[in-house]
């Protein structure tokens, strides 16, 4: 365990001393500040989405939705990416929930719904910064694992009495921990900015699971859930980066393929949804929060449980492959 902690500390030291992590943090802070101006402009121009539900006409809205659902004909035959029905059902469940509890929609935030308020701002920071942190982390693991292998520095480290699995684990964990640290630091920063600019987010969040089950949770709980899901996804991206480096054994190729996959694979998997392949795609299954929104997951029939199971299976497979490769590969 001491060997692992020493390796972990060494990896963190290597990342921090290069200073690029601070440049990343600076870029993300600048992005967060820029977003405040954008939100301010949209607020000033009254650009907020109208998501309020008129309680006087809620019965009529419910009846109209029920009729639409009863007569629903999909626009695309057997279209797996046609999630329109899911959205209609979710909205119906949401309206029924409001009616049953005699709740005002304006007292809540709807999960996944864009809004130009404190919660919406934090959502926007969270969403935009995560992509950058994920890409940065993929580059870091490719440099740390594939790069050190190809430039010979990994060999020197493996001459120390530390197992290869521990070395690999220390590299993955250090990149993930630093990515997570930057992400959480940015969310805290965004919280402070949001409080100053848009006030404290006090509204509870309504979420819809599986187009039928509606629930409410405190905003902080919702935020914490988002962070947990994003950190899981970050770990998945890092393991994927290492996997690609192991497949190609060349830092440049592995990094390029991993970055391309991180950017485009989700859309590719969505397209492949027509062939059912998309259902087992890793990237499409990492968007857990979509399973709590009105619009639902990207493909018809996906749900939070299946997404968590599929992405966890990916993680286990990547971990087994990467650890096996780390243990048995020849170090040039």
């Amino acid at each position: 365990m001491k060997g692992f902690s020493n390796a972990f500390a060494g990896e963190c030291y290597k990342i921090f001393r290069k200073g690029k992590i601070f440049i990343l943090l600076g870029v993300l802070v600048a992005l967060a500040l820029l977003l405040t101006f954008g939100f301010q402009i949209l607020q000033d121009f009254g650009g907020a989405f109208d998501i309020s539900v008129d309680m006087d006409t809620i019965d009529e809205e419910i009846a109209a939705l029920e009729e639409t659902i009863a007569n629903y004909t999909p626009a695309i035959k057997n279209g797996l990416i046609d999630t329109e029905l899911y959205q209609l059902q979710s909205t119906l469940a949401y309206l029924k929930y409001l009616k049953a509890g005699n709740l005002r929609s304006s007292d809540f935030v709807l999960a996944g719904q864009e809004a130009f308020d404190s919660a919406g701002y934090i959502d926007a920071v969270l969403g935009s910064s995560f992509g950058i942190i994920a890409l940065f982390s993929v580059i870091m693991i490719c440099r740390s694992w594939g790069g050190e292998k190809s430039d010979g520095t990994l060999k020197m480290q493996l001459l120390r009495p530390i197992g290869r699995k521990k070395m690999y684990g220390a590299k993955v964990l250090s990149v993930w921990c630093i990515g997570a640290l930057v992400f959480i630091a940015l969310i805290l920063f965004a919280q402070i900015v949001a409080m100053i600019k848009f006030g404290v987010a006090t509204k509870k969040v309504i979420y819809v699971v599986g187009a039928t089950k509606v629930g409410v949770m405190p905003y902080m709980g919702y935020l914490a859930l988002q962070i947990v899901f994003k950190l899981f996804a970050l770990f998945a991206y890092i393991q994927f980066g290492a996997f690609m480096c192991n497949l190609t054994w060349k830092k440049g190729n592995g990094m390029a393929l991993a970055i391309l996959a991180c950017i485009f694979a989700s859309n590719l998997e969505r397209l492949l949804g027509y062939l059912y392949v998309g259902y087992v795609g890793m990237f499409i299954n990492l968007d857990f929060m979509s399973a709590l929104s009105l619009t639902g997951p990207v493909l018809k029939g996906m749900n939070l449980v299946s997404m968590i199971i599929i992405s966890t299976v990916y993680q286990v497979v990547f971990a087994i492959f990467n650890l096996y490769h780390a243990e048995h590969c020849d170090i040039a």
Binding site: K2, G3, N6, A7, A9, G10, Y13, K14, R17, K18, D151, G152, T153, K155, M156, Q157, L158, L159, R160, P161, I162, G163, H328, D330, I331
Partner: protein, 312 residues
Amino acid sequence: MAIISIKGLTKTYKTKNKTGLKSDSQYITAVDDVTLDVEQGEIFGLVGSNGAGKTTLIKLMLGLTKADSGSVTICGYDSDKDSEKVLSCVGAIVEEPTLFKDMTGMQNLTMLARLGGGLPQSRIDQVVEIVGLKERINTKFSTYSLGMRQRLGIAQAIMHSPQVLLLDEPINGFDPQGIIEMRGLLRTLAKEYGTTILVSSHILSELEELCDRVGIMKRGKLIAVDTIANLQKDNNEIILRMTCSDVIKAAQIIAELEDIQVKVVDQYLYVKCTSEQQISDVTAALVGAGVAITSINTKKKTLEQIYMETVK
């Protein structure tokens, strides 16, 4: 009991030819059924041309490369099953030491020391002084010459006082003074601390002066292992260089002796003998014929000559 024991070690690499097709793959046996024992405190030299398999053998011993068959035991531990225990008693340099370019020598050593479980700063300072890098240890590794990189490589290899040192071309890039210092250091480690050293080098004269035994590798096979004295004996060829009162007459007399070759170069008489008895025969024949021998030197084969003849 041998501190390094290698049994039937074989490693084959698969290479693709220019077409890159699987069907065109070729197998190259980098290490072929190598068996070797090295005793504690011994300095063992590994000799061979480029691609003979020296570096691969050292990588296999360190577990950096996985063997197809055979086993390596170092300090009583199997290098495949107990690699961490093996590495805790081994210090090594494999090829040119490559460390982090943006770190100083000291930062690199400190980081590597931590990976090995940590060492007191005083020990790191001590090895820096031993390898003669004190003045440049706080400058970046990227500014180091090849010789300085090798010195830092040796520092990281010896800093945890290992029982076994595996050094692949350790004196590459060293200046003559550095070579002498390093030879002294390795001898001290072997004699005073009982460190076992396996060293490969292209500089055969260096191995000749340093090693107790040498092994000659050719195309992955260890084709000869012995002390240099025994290898010289095995070749049993002794060259006599003589000066005498009448070189021409002496050459004629020796040429009449059985199985002895003679050559005259610049007033020197070169006589090739294959036994000590033949030396006696030569001197007796010359004295008997009234030729006065004014000087006589024997010259044994160098490791380089033995190597060239062995791998032929």
